[in-house]
């Protein structure tokens, strides 16, 4: 069947009990219309302090892409070949920038009390994301497959054993740490990042304390 002038819209033709249509409506309602990728923002957003969230996201993209390239080449490649060493360095330094930008973003949002205006879940997902990112970076340092990773795991094992998680999360098991680093934790970071960004788009960026709530002007 081809779509013509008399074609029905999907809402007219689908069963409201159909899980596909329910999921579609859920996805369509995630953010208000036009807010998924807005090209206009309130005038108070024209400040450098509002840039650090998206800088963190940009660094995360470089982290993920360089990590995927490292996964293609493997351990021997990133330790020996010049290109592998370069991509390994890009992965490390993009992580350093990721954390630097994220912490400045955190400072900005903390002093702005960014949980105001029903934004508590935005703040909390950011806190959880910070924790998940630290875990991902930690397992990354354990996956370098060199003496540094061996030393770090030797130092970490007693602390983790003392809180009783050593049996499930064994830092002396490099295979397990590598899989946490390249599968489980990136999935968690990716999912929480998506949730965090959706919440920012749903509720908008937090205004400064002295912003006039009646400001309609946008930049």
């Amino acid at each position: 069947m081809t779509a013509g002038a008399g074609a029905l819209s999907p809402d007219d033709t689908t069963d409201p009990g159909n899980w596909t249509s329910r999921l579609r409506r859920k996805l369509e309602g995630l953010v208000p219309p036009g807010q998924a990728l807005p090209d206009r923002q309130p005038v108070y957003v024209a400040s450098w302090i509002y840039v650090f969230g998206v800088l963190t996201l940009a660094a995360l993209v470089v982290v993920i892409v360089s990590g995927c390239i490292l996964a293609l080449g493997g351990v021997a490649w990133w330790h020996v070949s010049s290109l592998g060493l370069y991509i390994n360095s890009v992965h490390l330094w993009s992580v350093e920038l990721f954390f630097g930008f994220m912490v400045i973003h955190l400072w900005g949002k903390f002093w702005m009390a960014a949980w105001r205006g029903k934004r508590a879940m935005t703040w909390i997902t950011g806190v959880v994301l910070f924790g998940a990112s630290i875990g991902t970076a930690f397992t990354g340092y354990l996956s370098q497959s060199n003496f540094a990773s061996q030393w770090i795991s030797g130092q970490a094992k007693d602390g983790l054993n003392s809180v009783g998680i050593g049996a499930w999360f064994n830092v002396l098991n490099p295979g397990q740490m590598l899989l946490w680093h390249v599968v489980l934790l990136p999935l968690a970071v990716g999912a929480i990042t998506a949730l965090h960004v959706i919440l920012v788009r749903r509720h908008g960026v937090v205004p400064p304390f002295d912003a006039d709530p009646s400001i309609e002007q946008e930049a």
């Binding site: 090209d39 206009r40 024209a46 400040s47 450098w48 302090i49 840039v51 650090f52 630097g100 912490v103 400045i104 400072w107 900005g108 930049a219």
Partner: protein
């Protein structure tokens, strides 16, 4: 008793700043200082107004 601020170079692993019980590598101190500087600059440096959208430019004409 808190000792005075001093630079410690006990071995070749790096240089550390020590202030009483607080000990931090010079590298980490520089990174934290740079981050604080970036944070302050982000608050005080004016943000460019940009070119705006096509509709904005049309309105300004």
């Amino acid at each position: 008793m808190m000792s005075a601020l001093s630079i410690v170079t006990e071995d070749a692993a790096g240089r550390y700043v020590q202030w009483g019980v607080v000990q931090i590598s010079v590298t980490n101190l520089v990174i934290i200082g740079t981050m604080i500087l970036l944070f302050v600059l982000a608050l005080v440096v004016p943000f460019g107004s940009g070119r705006g959208s096509r509709a904005d430019r049309e309105r300004r004409k």
